[in-house]
């Protein structure tokens, strides 16, 4: 098992190096000089300019710059924002918990509804329920989520006043220093009455928006996987044995049907962290996605470079983890290779 994990992990190392090359090359291709952004419009003396170039390593040959970049990355230095002068790594991990909280909640929402909905559709194949669910799921994964978010804000928040419009918590009513960065945990730790409820309230719409596409995918996947399993011999045996339909479906069929679904769920975790870019922008959710878009607006290329690198590295690692978990729950894969 450990060997399997190490093998899989080793395979991602070239990807990481290629990723470094990609982010490095991309930023080098940006027209204009990063120094000019920092200098601003008033201009500075040529000596100071040369000093800036030296500080940023821009007076070195390109291969040396790349080598320095990789060296710095390996030492955990993801550069410094040219706008805030903060370390990119620090900025990223201050905002990252907000994105994780949103993504994981969205996936939880998608799994809790998608798995039972898909399983029931498979059991009642061809029924009115099945057809309706499958139609809704096509709409679900075709959804332009940026529009879906605005639509929900318009209807649920503005018209019906059921949820707040944006943010993670009501900053006028509640104020506390972040401890973990996870609002749901911090609001409990703060001990303020109603804080957790308010944080949950703020989470509802963003979770629905970010969870919609995974929900549709998971429901369809569960249904098709369940249909396959229901035709297997061991399900027939379980039925013939006289087990209650609930035990047959819940215990024997669903458990096996979920194996491929787990992969989809895992991959959704990675892609939803990226999809959070849109959701965070719509809901002014202070996470890394919104930060990345703002970095482009401010022409903060080190932040963009570091941000893309970090998000991609995290997604690659999550996908690796999913692969390994899949190997654990489905030994056929592990021994097959």
């Amino acid at each position: 098992m450990v060997l399997y994990f190490l093998k899989r992990a080793a395979l991602t190392i070239p990807t990481f190096f290629a990723l470094m090359f990609l982010t490095f090359a991309a930023i080098r291709l940006v027209p204009g000089d990063p120094v000019e952004v920092r200098v601003g419009e008033r201009g500075i003396s040529p000596e100071r300019l040369a000093q800036f170039r030296h500080e940023l390593g821009l007076d070195q040959p390109v291969w040396k710059q790349f080598f320095d970049y990789v060296w710095a990355l390996l030492h955990g230095d993801f550069g410094t924002s040219v706008v805030t002068n903060e370390k990119v790594l620090t900025e990223f991990f201050t905002l990252f918990p907000a994105t994780v909280e949103l993504s994981l909640s969205a996936i939880l929402f998608a799994v809790m509804i998608g798995v039972p909905a898909g399983a029931i559709a498979a059991v009642k194949r061809g029924s009115w329920y099945d057809q309706t669910l499958m139609s809704i799921s096509v709409v679900g994964f075709s959804m332009p989520i940026f529009w879906w978010g605005l639509l929900l804000i318009m209807l649920v928040a503005e018209r019906l006043h059921l949820t707040p419009v944006s943010g993670r918590i009501d900053l006028i009513k509640f104020y506390f220093e972040p401890v973990t960065g996870f609002m749901l945990i911090d609001s409990v730790l703060s001990g303020q009455k109603g804080a957790l409820l308010d944080a949950l309230h703020h989470l509802v719409l963003p979770v629905i928006v970010l969870g919609t596409v995974p929900l549709a995918t998971i429901a369809r996947m569960t249904r098709s996987s369940m249909l396959e399993v229901l035709g297997e011999d061991y399900v027939r045996t379980a039925r013939a044995k006289g087990l209650s339909p609930f035990r047959v479906i819940g215990l024997h069929a669903l458990r096996n049907a979920l194996i491929p679904v787990v992969t989809v769920i895992g991959l959704s975790v990675g892609s939803s962290m990226a999809g959070a870019v849109l959701t965070e922008t719509i809901f002014s959710w202070p996470g890394v996605g919104k930060w990345l878009i703002e970095a482009i607006g401010r022409r903060d290329y080190p932040a963009l470079q570091g941000g893309v690198m970090l998000i991609s590295a995290i997604v690659i690692s999550v996908n690796l983890l999913v692969d390994v978990i899949y190997g654990v729950i489905n030994p056929r894969i592990r021994h097959g290779r």
């Binding site: 332009p144 940026f146 529009w147 503005e158 892609s271 878009i293």
Partner: protein, 303 residues
């Protein structure tokens, strides 16, 4: 002997398999959703093609006397602007019709370029020396490893936001799927006997790749291309919404949505209609793609 065989075959028309296209159509039309999707898509495509004739106004003309006019079914709306006007007094219906042109153009160009590049790179990977295969596969793995929208954002940030760069960015994001698909299906075909037979006869490498093997890899590729159009439209609209896609005053649906954000309280229809246009287009392409898949490739199951 050969003659008698031909006659015998002609005597039994019942057994003869229907022509490939007819077989496909018979199976495709069974799927009601797919046919509906194709019909709606045809209407949208016609609107896009005939935009200059159909659209009541120019998509760019600003009617200063009719800013933020509601659609005809809301009080205050009229038939001069059937779907109302936006914040600058431009006719929404006309902008949506011209927007169909932009979105379909993006979707089809991304699909076309990815299809061609995907076939070339995929076949090269399958047929060439191992190091070419490793190089192509690794490069595609890398592009797949970076989350789609993040990669597109990075590319657009580097190239600068515009319609052409949107197409480039979205193509780079979706290209790996085509390459992998072609490579995998070509690899599967390579071990089959007809390929060996062709090799033995002495068919040239080029002919073997494009004339012998490629036609047998087409079914999944066509399905991927159909679904790829809808994904490209969604991704491009997302970029437009973030202000990184087509730039104003181009009437692109995502950009229209971004402009409409400020009217979320006052004029909900300005916001509702462009999104609805994206959704209807993407749903109809996806329904059609599902039908294509079931008709062309019964083995392939979409999650």
């Amino acid at each position: 002997m050969a003659d008698s065989y031909t006659v015998a075959a002609a005597d039994r028309p019942v057994i003869a398999a229907p022509a490939p296209f007819r077989a496909f159509w018979l199976s495709f039309k069974e799927n009601k959703g797919a046919v509906a999707g194709m019909a709606i898509l045809a209407i949208i495509a016609l609107m896009a093609l005939g935009a200059d004739i159909i659209a009541p106004h120019s998509p760019l003309e600003q009617f200063r006397d009719a800013v933020r006019q509601p659609p005809f079914w809301v009080t205050g709306g009229n038939w001069r602007f059937p779907l109302g006007t936006d914040g600058l007094g431009r006719d929404t219906l006309s902008r949506l019709i011209y927007g169909a042109r932009v979105s379909l153009f993006i979707g089809i160009s991304v699909m076309g370029v990815s299809f061609v590049l995907g076939v070339v790179l995929g076949l090269l990977a399958a047929f060439s020396r191992p190091w070419v295969d490793v190089l192509i596969t690794r490069a595609m793995d890398l592009l797949m490893a970076v989350p789609g929208l993040v990669l597109a954002i990075l590319i657009v940030a580097v190239l600068g936001p515009s319609l052409a760069n949107t197409i480039i960015a979205v193509t780079i994001v979706f290209l790996p799927r085509y390459v992998r698909l072609v490579r995998a299906s070509a690899m599967a075909e390579l071990s089959k006997e007809y390929v060996t037979a062709a090799r033995v006869i002495g068919v040239s490498q080029f002919r073997l790749m494009f004339a012998t093997v490629l036609p047998n890899c087409l079914a999944p590729l066509i399905v991927q291309s159909a679904l790829g159009v809808s994904e490209a439209i969604l991704e491009a609209a997302a970029l437009g919404f973030l202000g990184l896609g087509a730039q104003p005053p181009v009437s692109e649906w995502g950009t229209m949505l971004a402009d409409a954000r400020e009217f979320i309280r006052s004029d909900p229809w300005i916001l509702t209609l462009p999104g609805l246009a994206i959704l209807v287009t993407v749903v109809s392409i996806n329904l059609m793609g599902d039908g294509l898949r079931d008709a062309l490739d019964p083995k392939m199951q979409r999650s």
